[in-house]
């Protein structure tokens, strides 16, 4: 193995060698720099490879032939090797990125760059604190030099402020070092660590100075004005190295030095870390310049890692996995984003729309964002999962809540940024793509996905990258070039074959959900055949969602459940974002879903009491005192997905603005994920008491109220898709109500709703989407009289509303019949009043939907409309057939599910013999009702048609208009404000209280960010004063640690 010191002397040597070259030989100088950096990163990689096999033995490197107290020693362990590899590779990549700048500035800049990389490697390796000081000063000098690479004069000011701050730090560091030496007699970290408790008794101040100097090097939140100016004005390639490599090195230094201070100092580190994480993320909300936002984000991430370092006492052996995971994710993600910002000309976030028609770069951007937030399958996800569980084990709930809140803020501004890129109205011109810059970015993407694979291998839960559904979704990335129709065939084939493969493993409950997700999804995807072109980004997102859903229903333990939950959220987010005006709604969707997911994460952590591997079955054996909280957290998390009242505001916008074939996917299938979660929760946790209130009763009330308010709000909508979206909220409220009844028939009703709602809601969304595609508008009052032009859509909507309203012959009535039997045996009756009111109200908006679109007066511009495209009509007709079959023989789907529910609620199930279904209170045979009603209807219809066979077919204005002539079709079609009297009577119940509440929450965060970021006045001296103030404040606050111990 090559000696680790080679890294130091190789880079230093080439730096000086460059001095000898002539100034004009710039290409040669650049070549030599690249060569040396390549060799150095090769050495680091061989070390990583070597140490990976036998991680135990880390190598001590003696210098000057003497042992430590008298000479500097360096250590090369697996962690050091990984950090070195990261630093050198980032350096190499940035140098490639900086090709033209370096060639312009000549060999001196290359030399400074090499020194910069060498200093960073030095910090990682050295075990001597004075040596650490020297390398830090080298980093300072190199940074001050390299800041001027960017041709932005403001970097001059930033550089000077940086130098001032580093002067103060070096003073603190030097005084700290000398006093520590004075007491311990040695400069070596290991020796000092040996006598750390003696050190702390005698001179805690000395260690404090040393510690706080290194902490300030990490640019902690209140004292990092100078750092943000560097990030904003420096060359992005340099910022990449600074944020990734230098950040890693400083974190390493702090980790080493903390060994001296011992465990009593860890809370201080955690405190500072969490403060930085939340403060920086909060300020990032109000940022408009991209690089300054990246600066805040990197400060926040480094704060998070500092907090993790602060928790290493309880993290035990998975400390390196967590800290490493988050660190590497931050480094690669941040470096990638900085390099991407190198391609964009302007500095506003909106200028990034230049990436819009560069799918590969867009994919890079998404990977970096997912890497930073820690979405599956990236390392951050595994790290965050383990971290939260171990913290929960050590009962540090407050810390978890703070970390999750910070992570939510981070998702907020990163996804808003992504939404801006895709949906901002004026598009900047296409970003230029010089080859060397693009190569660097793609290498970062490859690194990101290989890290994902690596961390999958390392994690104990099984590698997410091995999950076949996810791989199938990723398979569609290279296939983006194919036309949409071929990809559609592939997707449908994949879904159906996966269902056939999984079919034997499903138990009845999973079978119901599986049948809706996989073949059901394939059926809806049939409607996607109507688009031409390539539909970039649709199929990976859709199949990522389907992968999440299919993994969710077979999840054994909480990790796979949570991973599936987050992947379906991500997939559905990208689907929603495809709509034309859907950016704000997609944003609120992702925030609510990820917020809910974090609540579930906290719930699982509490339930598992610290052990990351937690099978779902053991939810039943959760400790008594913590069980109700776990129930609440998990239920809240799942209810964000079924849009129960209070967390429903994302649904109307998301479903209404999505594309024609995406709305049914969301409304028909995605909402069921939440329901499945609630099923699992109630199966395992059953009834929970909290302060004497039975939580299932609370769920009953929530279900009933969402049913009522969902229906009420749906009545007053003018937009057809919004009407259907609110109706979905109501139907989910019904299903939740059925579930919370906690008796056999209640669950059966909920399952029937799952199947029913999927069929008729997808059908209604498809037909309304088809009509909207033809008429060009979703506003109902603009349409009218389309029955003659679009008969098939009309039939689909007619059957749909009969099914939804629960009118006898169709399956809706089956749901109501079971509902009635369920509430007969339920003992808690008060919420039933609201459900009874919600029932008939559904009838109002259903009629409004069919009347304003299909009946009434036909407008002039719609006279020549064709029927909806064939591929949108086909699924609807299949659904009509399904509804008929399901109405005639509900037993087909529900028979063995009924038996399955028996083992939860043994008594008063239904028994199904032949065509009649009997419960304890009565029996009902759908076929006989259908026949009787059918016969009566047919005879009367035939007789009327026969009698009126010579009736005169008249047109739209042949109406008795009080002996006058109707003016125009628009003025005679009654559709606007259709239920005005009802609004006068019950309008007060639809005040947007919830929307206002969430708006104030978001608003307050933004204004506080806007207000407090004034802290950074831009004046170098104020920054220095803030720095000193921070040092004093930490000193005072941590005095408890001094004298408490």
């Amino acid at each position: 193995m090559v000696d680790a010191l080679a890294i130091i002397y190789l880079t230093l040597g080439t730096a000086f060698l460059l001095g000898l070259l002539r100034d004009e030989w710039r290409i040669l100088a650049y070549g030599i720099t690249l060569l040396s950096l390549a060799m150095v990163s090769g050495i680091a990689s061989t070390w990583v490879w070597h140490l990976a096999d036998n991680p135990a033995e880390s190598v001590e490197i003696m210098t000057a032939g003497a042992s430590p107290p008298f000479a500097i020693n360096l250590r090369m362990g697996l962690a050091e090797a990984a950090a070195l590899m990261l630093a050198t590779l980032t350096g190499l990549a940035s140098t490639i990125f900086l090709k033209d700048t370096l060639l312009r500035l000549g060999r001196r800049a290359m030399a400074v760059l090499l020194v910069f990389i060498m200093a960073i490697c030095g910090i990682i390796l050295t075990r001597d604190i004075f040596n650490l000081f020297v390398f830090f000063e080298l980093v300072v000098i190199a940074t001050a030099g390299l800041v001027l690479l960017s041709h932005n004069e403001r970097s001059l000011g930033a550089g000077f402020k940086y130098l001032m701050a580093s002067q103060v730090v070096s003073i603190l560091l030097l005084v700290g070092i000398i006093f520590n030496y004075h007491v311990s007699g040695s400069l070596n970290i290991d020796d000092m660590a040996g006598m750390s408790d003696m050190l702390i008794q005698t001179t805690p101040l000395a260690f404090f100075l040393l510690f706080i100097a290194l902490i300030v090097e990490l640019k902690p939140f209140p004292a990092n004005g100078w750092a943000l100016d560097i990030y904003e004005s420096a060359h992005p390639a340099f910022s990449a190295i600074l944020s990734a490599a230098a950040g890693t090195a400083s974190l390493f230094a702090v980790d080493k030095v903390l060994a001296i201070g011992g465990d009593s100092w860890l809370p201080v580190a955690t405190g500072i870390g969490v403060l930085s994480f939340i403060g920086a993320n909060l300020f990032a909300l109000a940022q408009t310049s991209d690089r300054r936002l990246l600066g805040y984000s990197s400060v926040a991430q480094i704060g998070l890692i500092l907090a993790i370092i602060g928790q290493r006492d309880i993290l035990g052996d998975s400390y390196w996995l967590i800290a490493g995971g988050v660190l590497l994710a931050h480094a690669v993600g941040k470096a990638g984003l900085f390099w991407l910002s190198g391609l964009i000309a302007e500095r506003e976030l909106t200028a990034w729309t230049a990436l819009r028609d560069r799918p590969l770069l867009l994919f890079a951007f998404i990977s970096f964002i997912a890497l930073l937030i820690g979405l599956p399958p990236f390392p951050g996800f595994y790290a965050k999962w383990e971290l939260i569980h171990l913290l929960a084990g050590a009962d540090r709930i407050a810390l978890i809540v703070l970390i999750l809140f910070g992570a939510l803020l981070e998702t907020a501004y990163l996804f808003r940024w992504f939404g801006l890129i895709l949906k901002h109205d004026e598009v900047a011109e296409k970003a230029p793509c010089p080859i060397q810059k693009v190569v660097v970015i793609y290498s970062a993407v490859v690194a990101a996905w290989s890290l994902a694979y690596l961390w999958g291998e390392l994690s104990v839960f099984g590698n997410l990258m091995h999950a076949i559904p996810l791989l199938f979704a990723l398979l569609f990335l290279p296939l983006e070039g194919l036309p949409a129709r071929i990809k559609n065939v592939l997707a449908i084939g994949g879904l159906v074959t996966w269902f056939i493969l999984q079919y034997p493993l499903y138990d009845p409950l999973q079978l119901i959900f599986g049948a809706i997700i996989l073949p059901g999804g394939a059926l809806i995807l049939l409607a996607s055949f109507h688009n031409q072109g390539r539909r970039i980004g649709f199929y990976p997102a859709a199949l990522w969602m389907f992968a999440g859903l299919s993994m969710l229903i077979v999840a054994e333990d909480s990790f796979t459940f949570f991973a599936a939950w987050e992947s379906l959220t991500i997939g559905s987010y990208f689907l929603i974002l495809r709509g034309k005006h859907s950016q704000p709604h997609a944003q609120s969707y992702i925030l609510f879903s990820l917020g809910g997911a974090f609540l579930m994460l906290l719930g699982f952590a509490l339930a598992s009491a610290g052990n990351p591997l937690f099978p779902l079955e053991s939810l039943t054996t959760v400790a008594e005192d913590v069980a109700p909280w776990v129930f609440i957290l998990l239920a809240l998390g799942m209810m964000t997905k079924t849009a129960a009242i209070g967390v429903h505001i994302w649904l109307p916008g998301a479903h209404a603005e999505a594309e024609t074939d995406v709305s049914p996917l969301l409304s028909g299938i995605l909402l069921k994920a939440g329901l499945f979660g609630l099923f699992i929760l109630l199966i395992y946790m059953g009834r929970q008491q909290l302060y004497g209130i039975d939580l299932t009763h609370v769920l009953l009330w929530v279900g009933a109220i969402s049913a009522l308010l969902g229906n009420l709000m749906a009545i007053y909508q003018e937009d057809a898709k919004r009407l259907l979206a609110y109706s979905s909220i109501a139907q989910m409220g019904y299903a939740l109500f059925g579930l919370a009844l906690m008796n056999h028939l209640g669950w059966l009703m909920a399952l029937m709703f799952v199947v029913n709602h999927y069929i008729y809601k997808s059908m209604l969304f498809l037909s309304v989407g088809g009509v909207a595609k033809r008429t060009g508008t979703k506003e109902m009052y603009r349409m009218g009289g389309l029955i003659t032009l679009m008969p098939l859509s009309f039939i689909a909507v007619l059957i749909g509303i009969i099914a939804v309203s629960g009118v006898p012959p169709l399956s809706g009535f089956g749901g109501r019949w079971i509902f009635y039997n369920a509430i007969m045996s339920a003992e808690y009756r008060l919420p039933m009043v609201i459900i009874f009111l919600a029932g008939p109200i559904a009838f109002l908006y259903l009629f409004r939907l069919i009347h304003t679109i299909f009946l009434g007066q036909l407008k002039d511009e719609h006279r020549k409309l064709k029927e909806a495209p064939f591929w949108i009509i086909l699924p609807q007709m299949i659904y009509v057939a399904c509804l008929m079959v399901f109405a005639l023989a509900p037993g087909l789907a529900l028979r063995h599910v009924d038996a399955y529910i028996d083992n939860f609620f043994p008594r008063n199930g239904l028994n199904w013999e032949g065509l009649t279904i009997t419960s304890t209170y009565g029996y009902w045979s759908p076929v006989s009702i259908m026949i009787v009603v059918g016969v009566i209807f047919a005879t009367l219809f035939a007789w009327l048609v026969f009698v009126n066979r010579r009736a005169q077919k008249v047109k739209q204005f042949n109406i008795v208009f009080a002996a006058e002539r109707p003016y125009r079709p628009e003025t005679t079609h009654f559709a606007w404000n259709f239920f005005a009297p009802y609004r006068k009577a019950l309008g007060f119940m639809t005040q947007p209280l919830v929307t206002r509440f969430w708006a104030t929450v978001a608003e307050s965060l933004h204004t506080s960010a806007e207000l407090f970021r004034r802290l950074y006045t831009g004046d170098g001296q104020t920054y220095a004063i803030q720095l000193l103030g921070f040092v004093v404040a930490v000193y005072l606050l941590s005095s408890g640690v001094f004298y408490g111990v």
Partner: protein, 301 residues
């Protein structure tokens, strides 16, 4: 529930009796209302004549296939409601096609007719029809809540969803009618009964002066004939449900006729006295007066 073919002629017989009784009853009620206004009133057989005349009209127009659905849905809703609920307790002949779960079917079959009428009125393209439907739906949904609560209370009280069993439980003296065992439920049901009978306090839907007779504006000749037969059957069918649930059902046809007449008179007497409500007044009226009664009925059962 084996399907005996003999049930079909029996139920047709019940249907025939109820249609004739309905036509005569409506004429009688109209005569009584006239006598209140010191008018001689229409002859008893007038409804027959009107029906024959409307059926006999030579021309008719049609606005489209859904236009037929209006009267057909309406009448099959009325006939269905009648046939799925037993009319005479105890007699096999007149228990029609009732089965054990028919209480819920009765509750939801009311909407079958309303949905069809709404669709037919919508197809006619007339704005007044649409305004009438929107008023009708708003009012019926508000009226439906107390009735649903009352039915639920009764179902809970007798622990069954079959109308025949409920009637059986109320036999014996009139004291064990639901009227006396659970008066709140009956009160709530009767208030909602007013709402669904399109009588003056709640007849803004068919208000002849404001919007010429609301939804059926465009209907005439044979369509109107169908609707008139429904206007005969549907109130009777609805009152059969009320009678069976709350007033002990009918053991024989005379009792059936008297009880139906008395129930009908409730809405007539209220109708003759009160002026017409706006839709929002009636919605609020139901939610303030009728629903609390229903809630109490469910609570105390």
């Amino acid at each position: 529930m084996g399907f005996e073919w003999i049930k079909i002629p029996y139920s047709l017989l019940t249907l025939f009796i109820v249609v004739n009784y309905g036509l005569l009853l409506n004429a009688l009620i109209a005569k009584i209302a006239a006598r209140v206004g010191r008018r001689h009133g229409i002859p008893i057989w007038q409804n027959y004549v009107d029906m024959i005349k409307n059926y006999g009209l030579r021309t008719s127009i049609t606005h489209g296939v859904m236009f037929y659905m209006g009267p057909v849905f309406r009448l099959s809703g009325g006939v269905g409601l009648l046939l799925f609920v037993p009319t005479i307790y105890g007699s096999v002949m007149f228990s029609n096609l009732s089965f054990a779960g028919d209480l819920i079917l009765a509750l939801y079959f009311v909407f079958f007719g309303t949905l069809g009428m709404a669709l037919g009125a919508g197809e006619s393209g007339h704005p007044y029809a649409a305004i009438g439907v929107s008023r009708g739906l708003a009012q019926v949904t508000a009226a439906e809540l107390p009735f649903a609560l009352a039915v639920f209370a009764v179902a809970l009280q007798y622990e069954t969803l079959s109308v025949t069993e409920i009637v059986a439980a109320q036999q014996g003296s009139y004291l064990n009618w639901t009227l006396f065992t659970n008066p709140f439920a009956v009160a709530a049901a009767m208030l909602s009964f007013l709402g669904s009978m399109m009588r003056p306090p709640f007849d803004v839907v068919l208000a002849p002066q404001e919007i010429p007779i609301g939804p059926p504006t465009e209907y005439h000749s044979s369509y109107l004939a169908l609707m008139q037969t429904n206007r005969a059957i549907f109130p009777i069918a609805k009152m059969v449900v009320y009678m069976n649930l709350f007033f002990g059902g009918a053991v024989s046809w005379p009792i059936f006729f008297v009880k139906i007449f008395l129930i009908y008179m409730v809405s007539v007497l209220v109708g003759v006295v009160f002026p017409r409500f706006h839709v929002e007044h009636s919605v609020r009226w139901f939610l303030i007066w009728a629903v609390p009664l229903g809630v109490i009925a469910v609570a105390i059962v």
